[in-house]
Amino acid sequence: MSTIKMRSKESNGVVTVKALIKHPMETGQRKNKKTGDLIPAHYIQEVHGKANNKDIITIHWGPAVSKNPYLTFKYKGSKGDNVQISWVDNQGNRDTNTGKVK
């Protein structure tokens, strides 16, 4: 199952995209309570939003973005558009998901 849950809705020519990504977003500054060791940084650095294969938004995230990040953005579009969201984290993991605008 994709790590990205998304929903897109059109109203008056503007599409609102909402997405929830499953990711630990570790800052690299937290310690493991039992061992006292630092938990290595693990967070999403880039998110790309596209509609019908055209770039809408490019996002750079730092470790200050919350665990399981939530994201909304808007663009000029219409019902039936194919919206694609993809992310890459600092360890090279990545995921992509697509959905249709309602």
């Binding site: 977003m25 800052t27 938004i57 490019t58 730092g62 919350s66 909304t72 000029k76 090279g92």
Partner: protein, 153 residues
Amino acid sequence: MKRRNFIKNSILFAGALAVAPAAILSNHAYAAWPKKSFDIKDLADSVKSVYGHNNLEESSKVKLKAPSIAENGAIVPINVSTTLDNVESIMIFVENNPQPLSSGYQLTNLAEPSIGTRLKMGKTSNVMAAVKSGDKVYTSTQEVKVTIGGCGG
């Protein structure tokens, strides 16, 4: 095949990070992740590393929606929108976080200048939304009081 692509992509990605860490965030839609800007610990330096200058202009056209009191610093909802035209990017700075630059959003001309996210805040701080429109950077700042920090482990 998949694995090969993955390796190729991660090498490309690592290469891009190594070559252009100082790339200014707001110049290109696909600029590499700006490690330098995300590492800076001082707000003024952070702003300067993103825009190349510190000439910010407070504007009522930048709408920052943030809670005045955040009960949980691990999840502080932030929304930024603006009525300004030709918006290139939106940046969110949290002054008292270990690194003030929290996130940056580069918009193409298809995008509407309105974004939302959730941030971690270690303690009470000013949150500043900065919108780049043309050559100027417009800001709106609001204090968010944090009762439980988001960086504790």
